[in-house]
Amino acid sequence: MLSVPLVVGASFAYLLLLFGVASYGNWRSAQGRSVIDNAWVYALSMAVYCTAWTYFGSVGRAASAGIWFLPIYLGPTLAMVLAWVVVRKMLRIARSYRITSIADFIGSRYGKSPALAGLVTLITVVGIVPYIALQLKAVSVGYAVMTLPAGAQATQAQDWWNDSTLYFALALAAFTVVFGTRRLDVSERHEGMVAAIAFESVVKLLAFLAVGIFVTYGLFDGMADIFARVRAAPELAPLLGDAATFDYGQWFSLTLLAMLSVVLLPRQFQIMVVENVNERHLRRAAWVFPAYLLLINIFVLPVALGGLLLFGSGTMDPEAFVLSLPLASGQHALALLAFIGGLSAATGMVIVESIAVSSMVCNDLVMPLLLRTRRFGIRAQGDLTRLLLRIRRAAIFFVMLLGYGYFHWAGEAYALVSIGLISFAAVAQFAPALFGGMYWRGGTRVGAMAGLLIGFALWTYTLMLPSIAKSGWLPTAFLDDGPWGIQWLKPEQLFGLSGMDNLTHALFWSLSANLTAYVVLSLWRGPTPAETSQALLFVEAFQRNRSTEPVFWRGRAKVQDLLALTTRFVGSVRARHLFEEQARRLGVPTVAQIEPDAQLVRQVEIALAGAIGSASARVMVASVADEDALALEDVLQILDEATRLRAHSIELEEKSASLERATSELRAANAQLQSLDRLKDDFMSSVTHELRTPLTSIRSMAELMADEPDMPLAQRQQFIQIIVTETERLSRLVNQVLDLAKIESGHAQWHNTDIDLGQLLAQAVQTTEEMFRDRGAQVQLALPPQPVVLRADPDRLTQVVLNLLSNAAKFVPATGGKVDITLRTSDAGVQVTIQDNGPGVPAAQHGMIFEKFHQNQDSGGYRPQGTGLGLPISRQIVEHFGGRIWIDPAYGGGARFVFDLPWNTMADTGATDVHTPAPATGHALPPTP
């Protein structure tokens, strides 16, 4: 045992630490750097599902029934498998419509019904009270174990004002108030609280694992040891499972119950849906949370069995093994840690649960009633935010006191685990209305209402009342014999259905009646227009986004009224902000000039819903606006418009995308055309320039001679010579331009015969002999021994060779010039090389020289007498016969021009003449371009 001050002090210190974490979380959130914007924090906060029950109840259950503690955790795991689909839809809906609680969700779905929301709230309050009591009980039991000598029984204080648990409850309520109701956040988010919950989840896990490890490996020799000893002890062996008597029905119903509760419990809904920061976090949290559950449960069975082995059954309360085992072994620090862990679990649950329930109570029970009174009602003025906060705080205390009350009067007789399951069964009643509402458009308010009422009634009768009776506050006669002796109305064997445990029995009756009533009544009379519109928005939440969402509202409203209304509930700052945004959307300069449309009204309603719940928000907005009642046709018409709008906008998007594509294609084509145009322009201007230059000389010379009849003969001779030369140049140019044009346009005439290429080359060399001799250059021709026969136009090929030779002659150095001509054959075709030892062509111009009118920009000032068309024409000719012509970049000793021709030169020209290749000697290398 530990001293009271130590235990109390440690507890208090821990709570302060939690508070510090929460404050840090709030501070970071205010700065915009949220700590909880993280999938791991989100997952850990979901672990608020593990309450003091995990610490004490599970162990107790394991000690008495073996693995029967597991379904409570298997259920959530299975539920989370579907979470990414189902819970995500809930997140989407909640975010779109500012849903702040499960009551709000259900009420909003069925036509924003205040009555339905109120009913859900009532059921929640009644259902959750036992659960809160359970936490208080766990803490008080734990406290007793820690501070009293081992084995001593804690005596329950008879007077409530003496009961330390009461003060603990009050302290916890105060703590919660500070945690969660500092200010009214219209999104109902409590970032600090979530941070603290995530933190305490870690503490919970670590403490439990610590105790587990200690018991398994400290007190025993590992798990195998424990189980071996259990098998040896005959009274304990059945705990490990007995196939014959395994109640599969109960197993299934427990699993199902836990599956539903992990979403429907107020604290779970609050954490999972309302406090969610980012939908995407759900993806990771959906498996991290079950992993957490697995981890925290690993040592439950060992601890329980270990406790039974050590203490024997019947002496120590098994539910407190997690504390008593370390205590008995003198591990006081570990025991304190475990107690802190259990305390942590309990406080976490209570805080979140009471915050969630208090907001429900405020928005869905109190507010609707208040708004009906004259004082706070429609025509009242004044800021209601402070009032709302006060109502919430009162609700927290109220719920806590109710919990204490249940604990005091009814908690003694019942084991913890059973109390918890009663609460589970209560919230399970929401399942048909909630999930049906999300996936079935046909669910109506009447159906949901009927289902909830009948389910709740049966729950009360089959579970709640028996539990109170078993605690001694009601005569048990009606349990054993049925009310007024009517046997088949026995609460735990209704209509004679026996053979089930009481939980399965209750669950069966309440859920089936609930579901049946829901379906039957929904089908009996279809949904009203308001319900239809809400149904559409909920069921199709994934398909809709803000812009294409239909707004089911028709009417008129004044902007001042709306602004005043919003200010009352949301505060002036937020109201202003909202309206200014709307003014921007409508394109109006000031708020006062806004003409409220359906969108604005909807935004106002959503903003209000965050503060007072959807149902009350609806009521308030309806009170200031002049609304047209929507009939079903109106709803369908609006929906139709919205659908058409959406289709239209999709179409528009597609059109604009294709338009963009067309435009860019057009632009590309235009650019290409322009460059071609420019090329043509350049060509034209080059041609005109080349034509006009010789013409200028000719004309000038002729005019000069004409003006001066008595010009000296020598001078006259010179001028005439120039005229002749320039005329030749001109006609050469004209011929070449026409030639090129003909070849390019395909109108050239080709006279193809079989030619011996070697002979052709030799002839060309002969023709240019004089030219080279004048330049003092040596020409060498290397030919293969056998004839090289091709089919081509000999004149054209000669043209090419002459062009290359004259180029070589132009650039060969003045002394020691050498020109080498080589002919090679290979399997592919023939190759002719003409190289000189002149200055060569710079690498940058290797491609350009084959362009029209490109002239080598010789820096020596020497301008070659050429037309600039020789090489382009040569290229056209060579390519016409399927060959290639290029300048060898690797040759540095001058310019080396190479052209090759395939054996089958006629292939490119389209003629069917096929030439059998001459035997190839093939000592040429394939060309390197």
Binding site: L78, L82, W84, R88, K89, G241, R283, L294
Partner: protein, 65 residues
């Protein structure tokens, strides 16, 4: 419901889990047997549980949903 492949896989996993962790498949594990000195039934339960979580994790982390 979101009719994508990812969500269909999750639905399938859900039903598989329900079947594996309930009657009748659960009855297949003999409570008297043991593996590594640990009783088979609890071990199987935890094992299946772990496999379920791992499969879920793999499906979720790899879905493009």
């Amino acid at each position: 419901m979101h009719r994508t492949r990812g969500s269909q896989r999750l639905l399938a996993l859900f039903f598989a889990g329900m079947m594996v962790l309930n009657y009748p498949l659960l009855a297949l594990w003999d409570p008297q047997a043991s593996l590594f000195g640990l009783p088979l039934f609890p071990l199987a339960l935890f094992g299946l549980w772990a496999i379920l979580i791992a499969t879920m994790a793999w499906l979720l982390e790899h879905s493009g949903d």
